[in-house]
Point group: C3
Chain length 225, copies 3
């Protein structure tokens, strides 16, 4: 059985599976699908044609995650766009904004008031701090940390697999320190740390850790200020 508050406004042909909890004043758009076990807080808005609470599917060549039984939790005031997919085992804080066509994998946390842009993708096991901005089409790979107040520009790309599938390797994404800003279409290599308040130029390729409070740009990225 699901627990849907009487004040919820559901669009046409919304599918709500069992064990779903929906708080006060929630709005869900037409044709959206809320899968088993999802918890949606008060005043949350969900667009049309979304799929929320997806259980991870794996094939023999992909990692299995251990949290297959945990639910998706969406805290109060968060707004989710249209045509969005979000997995189970993930928690979105309060007043988060998720753009249309975005996709967020399992075991991700997005802290209060952060923005995940249109068609941006956040892979599994990633932590995103408070008031971060992940711009349109940016790719936040798995096993990544964004501290608070980080800005990821549009179309930024990250990777977490140094050997591109060729060796047994503990996957490690970038670590972006508080207040750092990454310019549009920059590329970050596996495991790099970007320092506090550091700015990375558009189109830069960050191949190693950067200091705090600098500006770096180019291919490969070098300190320019």
């Amino acid at each position: 059985m699901s627990d849907i508050h009487g004040s919820a406004q559901l669009g046409e042909r919304v599918v709500i599976e069992k064990d779903v909890k929906i708080g006060k004043n929630v709005v869900i758009g037409h044709h959206s699908v809320i899968l088993q076990g999802t918890e949606i807080g008060d005043n949350v808005t969900v667009g049309c044609n979304c799929v929320l609470g997806i259980r991870p599917a794996v094939n023999q060549r992909m990692r299995e995650t251990s949290n297959a039984n945990r639910q998706l939790v969406i805290q109060s005031g968060t707004r989710i766009g249209h045509l969005v997919s979000i997995y189970s085992g993930t928690e979105l804080g309060k007043d988060v904004f998720i753009g249309d066509h975005a996709s967020i994998r399992e075991n991700v946390s997005v802290a209060d008031e952060s923005v995940i842009g249109r068609a941006a993708i956040v892979e599994l096991n990633t932590k995103i701090g408070k008031r971060c901005t992940v711009q349109t089409q940016a790719y936040v790979t798995g096993d990544t940390t964004l501290e608070d107040h980080v800005f990821i520009g549009p179309c930024v790309s990250m990777s977490n697999d140094k050997y591109m599938g060729a060796q047994a390797y503990s996957l490690k994404g970038p670590h972006i320190r508080k207040g750092a800003k990454i310019g549009n279409n920059a590329s970050l290599l596996p495991g790099v740390t970007v320092g506090h308040n550091t700015i990375i130029g558009a189109g830069a390729v960050v191949t190693k850790d950067t200091e705090d409070n600098i500006v770096a740009a180019g291919v490969p990225a070098r300190k320019i200020k």
Copy 2:
């Protein structure tokens, strides 16, 4: 009440909200959602699972636009793919083509016979001229102008915020002059102008205005011809 011409072919479980106008010989795919106030011209085709006429949603950290009451207008002969989202306050001209998974924000105009590719994104307050091509996965940021006959290659990235959210700043996207061509995965910085018929190489990072009729490439982009 909506005004749907008798010749319209609607797929299964299409949702049509009130105050929608649908012209002659329109085809709408299964499960698509046409939101309140949308105007669809004659001979328009819409794919499955689309969401058309979205009212802008904003949070406290995002800009409010002034045209929240204007509708989405789609002129005759235009074809829209599957899983597409388009906002209200936008106008698509005649014989425009919008690829699958594309997203177009509010207050955008796309002139006749232009092509917006698969999974391409066009942000708010942007003008796209006649017979332009915006290729697959390209990102056209807000406050951008593409004059007529512009070609934007696949995965091109643009930005419009020089200070990456850090300062009060009037956002300004690139201005691409008539006939210019931008190679795949190039990055354009906020406010840059690309000259008439100028060609930008693949992967280039355009940091300042370019002349007309040249070829520029590299990081940062320099004139090579």
Copy 3:
């Protein structure tokens, strides 16, 4: 009439058009659309809100393909995510994995056990070998060949049109030889060949053919090892 095996589990409001074949133990998520003529093998899983078997739509400025009457064939054991679009005239092998939000055009073949990542796009007339990985948001252009065991990193971009629409030109995408690995956000120009087991660095721009068994990086890409 469609031929749906009695063991199939269909979600709510799945649309199945005529002449569809569905094998044993197939699972199809809520709101997905299976268009006319699609053939789905045993043990295939399809997510929610997908559109499978799309007939190519063209406008006057786009190429018409000759296989408009061929169906989409999905072989046994393949898993397809949510919000995916796949065209008719394409064949997916056994135990293939297609990520959420991915899009695959017509006349594509994907061989057994390959992975097409989340929001990745594969354009028309492309051949993908066995056990390839095309990572998240990567763009595989039309008329491209990936031999077996190729790795395409996240956000990789390719193009197949040397003149960007300006001249009559036979379109030709890259050819990636067996075992080659392309780093994240690299750009490949039309018609380039990447050699056997060659590794291309993140953010590189590959402007000409590379040798076998080398490492190349930079803009433009040069041999570094």
